[in-house]
Symmetry: C2
Subunit: 687 residues, 2 copies
């Protein structure tokens, strides 16, 4: 791997141009906005839309966090709608070789047929509190960056603990603007989640990997669950009503979900690190795993069934990462990023009082990138677990850390602890297969590590993987529970081979983590905070913060676009779906479920299936409800087009689009294809 | 190894006898008394000797802790006298193949010839404070034994830290009566310690291992150091004047030193544990090492020189442990211990208010012994380091623990940290030899441990030992210093093979330690405290606490004894030394240094060489000054006779004796043999 190199392009701009730019107001629909920072003035001015607190509160409380992605309440009886690919893991966990819900879909005709999903927990954001002053007050003069970070983490942990105890909600402090702001998010959580409806994989993911991140699209990427409380369906006023009128091009729409992460406020050197170190590693690694798992899936239908969810995840990540990287490899985009940064830095350099405070921030971050590059590989393999690609190792490491880390009360730990009672099925053959290859990779990439020698010094990766997987008892929830309750004494004395492995690599993993925290993260947070402060001084808080996997509101207009001189219309229809299937001779990934062929004639083929809008979104937004001005459900975001991927780093609205399933398509399919009028009626409020 | 079995002998005593016994005052010279618990009334009554505070303070401040043993100031210019075998490690560290100070002895004729001893630190007890109430107040209702122990340890750590900060002294809380009392000991420490005088090994350890723990004896077991402060000899009023009149049989003498540990207040089940589990393991282990090291020493004179100090330590421990075990194997002694315990337990059982509070204590301790027996072997091999018999592992583990343990401020850690700058010479060949055998033992005894497999799965113990020792850089003080300063990040990422080993076994070691602390130690402390409270209620505080390696005062009379119908006189002379040497044809271990043969005629052969007294002592008392009523130095304790060893568990004064070097012998030898009149004059105060 090439070490990170900084190739600065010298850009010089006149002060006039600079000041002009600095004084410009936001002119684009950019931004995945925290609910407490929504740009109401902008919306009023540009769209003549008055955002009221009631409107915002209702949409927020109807928005649901589903795993790392998004969903929404769509009925007063606790129905939760999300993408099929968001619910996929839960659906797969309910499947067996005999009952393949992924392939065949599912519909619970009665409530007692709804299937409880082990390990699924949904979060609803009950409130946001600004705790910036409290967190920043942790910093005392003379502290090193690491001490500042530790002090902030300590106070954050205290704030979370106190708030959790006080409210009974799950409380997390969210870091915005690299530490420029800290907000406390309070979540109500739901653990009894049952599967109500899932389409067949073929219609959810029509076009498969080739069509993923493209448009036009024809996917009914929908699954529906129901939240129960005390054994009864949740009664809630906070649900989205179904839109009654069809969408029009140019219409303003809103999207409420949990975008995972963006890097628009990253410095130029951080982008170079991603381009030259991080993404090349990730892409090569995902490609290796993609090839490996396809080989596994080809062994037989059962292997295919078992591995398909993982393959889907890998291919999705791979395509996304390649898309992000395409932005960083785009010279124009990078020149634009550099120019923007240079503008800010020149403005700061020209004002001594700012220069003294903020002048060094970019250079210090650049140094941290070099440091990170120097141990990136070890960090990925050991601390990020790349060398131990099995769910058993994840369980083992989580148990080890729960038992041995000082702060066992942080929300991740609490969540992990709860999960240990229930995981989906684990297939040992598959686990051995994955682990063996990652161990092989370890041996290839880091042969001189003592850990590698102990583990693989006299046995092949295959032998070791087999011994570890067949030897561990971690599949047994009772065993996990006992270990968890036994604390460090039990963990430290445990003879389970996977626990032993996790313990053996833990010191090195912790060393790498400490190095990362001290020499990279702490430097980035310290200087990121400074840069954010500088930006606030120069531009106010009109800059949207980067995504952080937390609830955000974004908006845009329903709108087609031009691609290679061709007009791409804003929406597709069922008719287009059948045409595309036919064009590909109904061969995978363009095959259709049998029932869709049989019942085609019943469908209104003009029903809109997917549509696009200029909504600013990114991975994590999957499943997000999209609503109209009235706050009515018009569709569920499930993808972005390929042009949207570089918006991870720079917002763009000419070509970049979010892709949604149109709510009308779901209703039409429920009634005409799935014989599920009761469910359609519940969604339409006709019960 | 046999699991611990409790074989109770039923003893029944009438309540009358019991009460009689309980009301009896102390009638023997038993006790190694903390300086704040000295039985002044007893001494006044039995010996008509009034112990004044001045007398006690002077003796205390002249007493010195030297490593794990004892010494005393014997001149106003900082001379410190101890045994040769106590100073042996320091003397050996100053030796090389070319300059063998162990074999040839040493005398610094001028101050600038005095040799600085790396790593030697002497402690003087400046004060004692009772903190029992403070420590016991840590216990809150409803706490488990482990929580009580942890709470006490926390408060102890706080007390120590606070006292250290306040006084600048090294402060340690000492647990007396298994937790019945807690005293804070405050030490002044001296780090600049230089070798002034050492006799030759042959005269220090005349009779060698065969004569060790026997009497009559003929050893001039003496070495003399000088404490410096700010580069100048320490000026101190707190030194012992040399006695001017010779000792008489029947004379009362006192001994001030640091007895290591006794087990007189152990319950009967704790004694059974020692007898059936702990001692058999220790004895077998020491024997294995004894044989191993003799084989090494036989390889050549340099190997002999290198290994002799270790051999001495092993043989000394072996003989002592066998002696202790002989007491436990003595049915009469054990029956006496059981009878005493039954008396107390019956008395408590007969009084409901006591029974409720204390009745369960013995049984809970018995259960803890069973638990301990179940993991004793793993505990010894892994946590006590038996499997890794090399100084490098000790260094590595200490570095690992310093970097990773929460409470890095405890005095042991502070001391360890200081030591890391300077250790004596390390001989890799010797380290490989020892380590290889202990790894072999690990493989024999615990082959199924994952740690054993990783370490020894595909290599022989010899190969692994060689790789570890030749691969480690821990010999280099700079390397150690850098690691120490680098904290956990440096340790966790360190690739040194010995550090890696220490890290790899650390989780298991900590698990075993937690198990020990929770299931054995905490139970023993909880119930030991209860038993102590019960004893205080029944007998007051006239019971001496067990030895704890801290400064104690004991006393007795100079007195011979009968052995196999033969009278053993209280003292020996130089004449006896020469006779015994001749009788053994001057063959080792009865050979004499050449100069002792050459200068024999110059000596007054009637000078007393060694003497015995009924002083209560145990290992750790080596080097203790013995003084007369006037507080004058009359000799230095260096041994006990073989009959004294079982007094670890039951005091006895008919046959048990402490063995001393007579101060007169040293003066005579200094002047007549060593041409060291200036040193003799300094001791005699004739400067």
């Amino acid at each position: 791997m090439n070490r990170f190199r900084s190739n600065r392009i010298k850009v010089s701009l006149s002060l006039l141009v600079l000041l002009l730019w600095l004084l410009l107001p936001a002119v684009a629909d950019e931004g995945m906005w925290p609910y407490n920072l929504v740009p109401k003035d902008y919306l009023a001015k540009k769209y003549n839309f008055k955002v009221t607190d009631e409107w915002l509160d209702h949409l927020r409380l109807a928005s649901v966090r589903f795993g790392g992605a998004s969903a929404s309440f769509v009925s007063p009886d606790g129905l939760v709608l999300t993408n099929h690919h968001v619910g996929r893991g839960a659906i797969q966990n309910l499947s067996t070789a005999e009952r393949d819900l992924i392939k065949n879909g599912f519909y619970a005709r009665t409530r007692d047929q709804e299937l409880k999903c082990p390990g699924v927990e949904l979060w609803v954001l009950e409130g946001i509190e600004d705790v910036t002053d409290k967190v920043l007050s942790a910093e005392k003069p003379g502290m090193s960056p690491q001490e500042v970070l530790a002090a902030r983490q300590k106070i954050i942990s205290d704030i979370q603990k106190e708030a959790t105890e006080k409210t009974g909600l799950r409380c997390q402090v969210v870091t915005l603007y690299s530490g420029g702001k800290y907000n406390l998010y309070k979540y109500k959580t739901y653990n009894d989640v049952r599967l109500v409806f899932a389409v067949e994989e073929e219609i959810a993911f029509f076009g498969g990997d080739p069509d993923n991140f493209t448009y036009p699209r024809y996917d009914l990427d929908i699954s529906i669950f129901r939240v129960y409380e005390n054994g009864q369906p949740l009664k809630t006023p906070n649900y989205l009503k179904w839109a009654t009128s069809p969408l029009k091009e140019g219409e303003l729409v809103f999207c409420s979900g949990n975008p995972g992460s963006t890097g628009r406020l990253l410095t130029y050197d951080q982008l170079l690190f991603l381009r030259d170190v991080s993404y090349p590693f990730t892409i090569a690694n995902l490609k290796r795993r993609q090839a490996l798992l396809h080989e596994y899936a080809n062994r037989g239908p059962e292997q295919e069934r078992i591995s398909l969810n993982t393959i889907f995840g890998i291919e999705n990540s791979l395509k996304a990462t390649i898309g992000y990287q395409s932005g960083l490899l785009d010279k124009e985009l990078m020149a634009k990023k550099l120019a923007e940064e240079q503008k800010i830095r020149q403005e700061i350099a020209s004002r001594p009082e700012l220069s003294k405070e903020y002048g060094q921030a970019w250079e210090e971050i650049a140094q941290a990138q070099k440091e990170y590059a120097s141990f990136f590989k070890e960090y990925q393999f050991i601390e990020r677990g790349n060398a131990f690609n099995t769910v058993y190792f994840n369980l083992a490491r989580a148990l080890v850390r729960m038992a041995t880390e000082r702060d066992r009360q942080n929300p991740e730990m609490v969540a992990a602890r709860r999960m240990f009672g229930s995981t989906g099925p684990i297939y040992d053959d598959f686990e051995i297969y994955k682990l063996a290859d990652s161990l092989k990779q370890l041996k290839e990439e880091l042969p001189d590590l003592q850990e590698t020698k102990w583990l693989l010094g006299c046995k092949s990766p295959e032998e070791v993987a087999k011994e570890l997987v067949t030897g561990t008892k971690l599949k047994d929830p009772e065993f996990r529970k006992k270990l968890m309750e036994g604390g460090s004494e039990a963990i430290y004395q445990c003879q389970d081979p996977m626990i032993k492995l996790a313990l053996m690599v833990e010191p090195l993993a912790r060393g790498l983590r400490e190095r990362y925290e001290k020499r990279v993260q702490a430097v980035e947070v310290k200087n990121g905070t400074l840069i954010a402060k500088a930006l606030f001084q120069l531009k106010g808080t009109s800059i949207p913060p980067d995504a952080t996997g937390t609830l955000r509101l974004s908006f845009g207009v329903v709108k087609g676009y031009m691609e290679n001189g061709k007009k791409i219309p804003f929406e597709t229809t069922f008719a287009g779906l059948y045409e595309k299937a036919k064009k590909h001779n109904y061969q995978p990934p363009y095959s259709l479920p049998k029932i869709w062929l049989e019942k085609k004639s019943a469908l209104n083929l003009n029903t809109p299936l997917n549509f696009v809008a200029t909504i600013d979104s990114i991975g994590g937004n999957s499943g997000s409800p999209v609503v109209n001005r009235k706050g009515e459900f018009v569709g569920a975001l499930f993808d972005g087009n390929i042009q949207s991927l570089p918006t991870r780093f720079v917002y763009e609205e000419k070509l970049s689009r979010s892709v949604m399933v149109d709510g009308q398509a779901l209703i039409e399919a429920l009634i005409k294809i799935y014989d599920a009028k009761p469910l359609a009626d519940e969604l339409l409020g006709k019960k």
